[in-house]
């Protein structure tokens, strides 16, 4: 029987980790001091943004093993074996996710810096709660700071997306 590994060792302070990003298997070489946000950006996933680097703004939100999480607080080596969805994995300009469309249609995108994080948080919310009340939306998005919009149109966008997704009979699972 194959023995399950329960550890990794760094070579000169660098861990080689395997992980899934947006459904693709990837191997990252990450320094022991590096956080997931920096590693993702270094490997080209620029959709995760650095707004504070202290876990307080939510711009770096990614879906980490099924839940929205703060990539700036996750030591990169701990992403070994993880499944990650970044905004790039949710939808693209050619083929956007209904949430991305809803944010555009509701006028919820101003500078856009916080939007990838906010959409990823919303995505999970709608996965677990397809018909959230306004209060539930407000509670779920409280870690994604935005200074441009006052959140009014973003909440509207999440409601609209929820409706749209319910119409499709399912929430797209990533």
């Amino acid at each position: 029987m194959k023995k399950k590994t329960t550890g990794l060792e760094a070579v000169n302070g660098v861990f080689e980790i395997s992980l899934g990003v947006n459904g693709a298997k990837r191997t990252f070489a990450v320094k022991n001091t590096e956080f997931l946000l920096d590693a993702l950006r270094r490997y080209g996933y620029k959709g995760a943004k650095k707004g504070c680097d202290t876990g307080d703004c939510g711009s770096c939100t990614v879906i980490f093993n099924g839940k929205p999480a703060l990539a700036c607080l996750i030591p990169a080596f701990t992403a070994h074996g993880a499944a990650i969805t970044t905004i790039e994995g949710l939808g693209t300009v050619r083929d956007p996710h209904p949430l991305q469309e809803a944010f555009v249609e509701a006028g919820a995108v101003q500078c856009g810096f916080c939007i990838p994080g906010m959409i990823l948080s919303s995505k999970h919310l709608l996965d677990v709660n397809p018909e959230p009340s306004e209060e539930e939306i407000k509670k779920y998005l409280d870690g994604n700071l935005c200074r441009c919009t006052g959140y009014v149109k973003q909440i509207k966008a999440v409601k609209a997306a929820a409706k749209k997704l319910r119409g499709k009979g399912r929430v797209s699972g990533v």
Binding site: G51, D56, E88, A108, Q110, F113, C148, Y151, I155
Partner: protein, 773 residues
């Protein structure tokens, strides 16, 4: 004039960059990777006031990977201002790329560029600095006293009115039509205070400098003012403007903090030293401490009022804390009066005294509202106090006194931004309708009745406030645009106007599309690049819609003219009989041809030429938008907690070019203002060290905190604006402080003068008022 026949303007149009942003496209300053790029880091002063006696960088330079270490010894010393304003700037020239004197905790000591961020950090630790610590001053009134520490004692600074008393800017103005307060039945004198506040754009300041194939310096930067960046970097580094190209990619919010040359000079200096691309990206902590803030203010307002509701006299005395450098010291101070005093008619005497004072604290700068926020907190609180004195309803009192269509104010002429202003009269105003709409939406009358005579521990109340702003700086701000036609009948619109997330690219496209008879999506907008787009002062002073919008409209009209000339040839009709409609040139008799035929004709077939035009705009007037805000609050008398239950903001921004984006601007401004009202405040230790330089401890509102916010647009038609438009971006931030203060008074009978209204302060005010009774 009205907006009935408009097809693109005042209609729904999706923000054109929104989908890319929502998909996380790599469009921000930091989202590019350049080969061989170095990482820049800055060493910050740990002392509020100190002189470098000795600085030794040898060990730092020896760290593997370190490519450059800069100190005041090896960069040009050119006094300049970091404020991105019209040239010559009305600011003191009191800033140096690096200096041997430190004027606040967070002032620049040295800069390092290295191959890795770690090496750069390591080098910073190894820079040995010996400081002579100087006495520091943090209070503006102490700083003005004889014998106070002199913060700018250097000889080569320019344009500081009184360096010995730390006065970075001052202005006085008086209109006298009789004895001061001689005509008043009541005189009210109160002082209103605001603390240090930060913009908190979610994208920190980021700059990447590199070189193009001509060896020119390319500055990719998160800025609101690309052309001012080019000029000021050229000045500070003693370079010709032609050697610099500034690119503004997508910007992650600015709110005034990016109307400043903050990192471009030092990043450029590191690139020039190393010959390599260099990136400097602020941390959130650095953004709090070493970017810019709102000017803390003490506003003393003394007003006289007659029992019949006439405001007889107004004396406004404002002292602003500009921190260690003068940046926007003069202009913010002047706007605190020029944007507020004209709001209401003052019968006899007006006096404004303003001083901006240096202290050993972070540098204040431009911040959405730009002085008007400080001014309206005072004015709109005082309006309620005066109304109560004379036993008049505060809404009626405002309705009686606000400036009317066709009226002017001596203030417009006397006070501009940093210089004399421009005479103007109000050419559009929807304030009355705004007040009425707000009263209705807020349920004002019924709720006021219901809330009378409350005695419980939790009490409710309503308050309102009115305000105005400007639309660009008259006879100062200038914008220009270029439009170029393509084969398929689409157009490139190139503007210097800096979309920093506001959606200005989209509304400028809508304006051009309206003129050209096409859809907004037929305009491909590019902003901004000093090599490729024509000049624009940048995104500030609520100028983009009004000034840049007019420039785009003029440009589009020129292009329309060129199109019609070609169309006339194609259709064999008189140019005067043609118009543009639905992507076609249409003649009175119904003959028509498509725009692509026009483009192809001009490019390939006949009398070949590129249909292209540029135009500029500057204005002799700055038509104010007006707003009426209404707050409903709940005050816990025992704990001092204020909860905002409802907030209605009615805004007259003329024609809203894009109603959805206009609403969004106002929603955001209002919530930012609510943050100012209830929680935001930078705190400092006794030696000037910032204590809460993080989103964890400097609390901006999130979705769980936000009250219901309703923006109601009140349409008017501003004859000087493009399709009747005025500004919308700043005004919304001025309302919450006074509207909530007035609502708290209505609910709890206490008057708050000191922002933010924390539970502690509210509780203290409640106890204080009980003590008096």
């Amino acid at each position: 004039m009205d907006t009935k026949n408009l097809k693109v303007v005042n209609r729904r149009a999706l923000k054109m960059d929104a989908l890319g942003l929502a998909c996380g496209e790599p469009v921000f300053t930091d989202d590019v990777d350049l080969n061989g790029m170095l990482y820049g880091r800055i060493l910050w002063s740990p002392y509020a006031h100190a002189r470098i006696k000795n600085i030794d960088t040898r060990e730092a330079e020896r760290v593997p990977g370190v490519k450059a270490v800069l100190t005041y010894k090896n960069v040009p010393r050119v006094p300049h201002t970091t404020a991105g304003q019209g040239y010559p700037e009305p600011s003191p020239y009191d800033t140096y790329i690096l200096d041997n004197k430190m004027r606040f905790v967070g002032d620049r000591v040295a800069a390092v560029a290295a191959e890795t961020p770690e090496a750069a950090e390591e080098a910073l630790k190894l820079i040995k600095v010996e400081y002579e610590i100087l006495p520091a001053v943090f209070d503006t009134f102490e700083a003005m006293r004889d014998g106070a520490p002199v913060i700018h004692d250097e000889e080569d600074s320019k344009n500081i009115p009184d360096a010995k008393h730390n006065i970075a800017a001052r202005f006085e103005f008086e209109v006298k039509n009789g004895k001061w307060f001689g005509d008043a039945d009541f005189v009210v004198e109160r002082t209103y205070r605001m603390p240090y506040l930060q913009h908190c754009a979610i994208e920190p300041h980021t700059v990447i400098t590199s070189f193009d194939h001509f060896g020119r310096l390319v500055i990719r930067t998160s800025t609101q003012v690309p052309f001012h960046v080019r000029r000021i970097v050229a000045q500070a580094l003693k370079m010709p403007v032609k050697k610099i190209r500034v690119i503004k990619p997508r910007i992650g919010g600015g709110f005034g903090s990016k109307q400043e040359i903050l990192l471009e000079d030092v990043t450029a200096a590191l690139s020039l030293k190393t010959g390599k691309p260099v990136k400097i990206e602020y941390t959130r902590r650095e953004t709090f401490i070493s970017s810019r803030t709102r000017h803390p203010a003490a506003v003393r307002l003394k007003t006289g009022v007659r029992k019949d509701g006439t405001i007889t006299d107004a004396e406004m005395d404002i002292v602003l804390n500009t921190g260690a450098y003068g940046s926007h010291a003069l202009t913010v101070m002047m706007c605190s009066g020029s944007h507020t005093i004209p709001m209401y008619k003052v019968k006899n005497n007006i006096k404004f005294t303003g001083r901006s004072v240096y202290t050993n604290l972070p540098v204040s700068g431009a911040y959405r509202g730009y002085g008007a926020t400080q001014g309206f907190f005072a004015w709109e609180s005082q309006m309620d106090i005066m109304a109560e004195k004379i036993g008049m309803d505060p809404v009626e009192f405002r309705k009686m006194n606000y400036i009317r269509l066709g009226e002017g104010s001596p203030v417009f002429k006397a006070m501009g931004e940093g210089r004399e202003g421009v005479e103007q009269v109000i050419t559009s105003i929807g304030l009355y309708d705004g007040i009425e709409a707000g009263l209705k939406a807020a349920g004002w009358q019924a709720k006021k009745e219901k809330y009378k005579g409350q005695t419980g521990p939790v009490r409710r109340g309503l308050g309102m406030a009115c305000m105005m702003q400007g639309s660009g700086i008259p006879e100062v701000d200038m914008a220009s645009a270029t439009i170029k036609m393509n084969e398929d009948g689409s157009f490139n619109l190139m503007v210097g106007a800096a979309d920093l997330g506001t959606g200005s690219d989209t509304i400028l496209a809508q304006i051009a599309a309206e003129v050209l008879g096409v859809k907004a999506g037929d305009l491909v907008v590019y902003s901004s690049d000093t090599d490729l787009t024509p000049f624009d002062v940048g995104a500030y002073a609520s100028s983009t819609t009004f000034i840049s919008g007019n420039a785009v409209k003029k440009t589009a009209e020129k292009v329309r003219d060129m199109i019609l000339a070609v169309g006339a040839k194609i259709l064999g009709r008189q140019k005067e009989d043609l118009r543009l409609e639905n992507g076609r040139v249409v003649a009175k008799d119904g003959a028509s041809c498509g725009l692509s035929e026009v483009a192809n004709t001009s490019l390939y077939y006949y009398d070949q030429h590129q249909i292209i035009a540029s135009a500029s705009h500057y204005a002799h007037t700055s038509p104010p938008p007006f707003a009426a805000n209404f707050a409903e609050v709940e005050v816990d008398m025992e704990t001092g907690r204020i909860k905002i239950l409802d907030y209605v903001s009615c805004v007259d921004c003329g024609t809203a070019i894009n109603p959805e984006l206009a609403e969004g601007q106002n929603d955001g401004a209002v919530l930012n203002g609510i943050g100012h009202t209830l929680s935001e405040e930078m705190e400092f230790s006794a030696n000037g060290t910032p204590l809460n330089a993080s989103f964890r401890r400097y609390k901006i509102f999130n979705t769980a905190d936000m009250p219901p916010i309703r923006t109601i647009l009140i349409p008017t038609y501003e004859p000087n604006g493009p399709f009747g438009a005025k500004s919308v971006s700043e005004i919304g931030i001025n309302g919450p402080l006074p509207a909530v203060a007035n609502a708290v008074y209505n609910a709890a009978g206490i008057r708050l003068f000191d922002a933010p209204f924390t539970p502690e302060k509210v509780r203290a005010a409640i106890k204080n008022s009980k003590g008096k009774k």
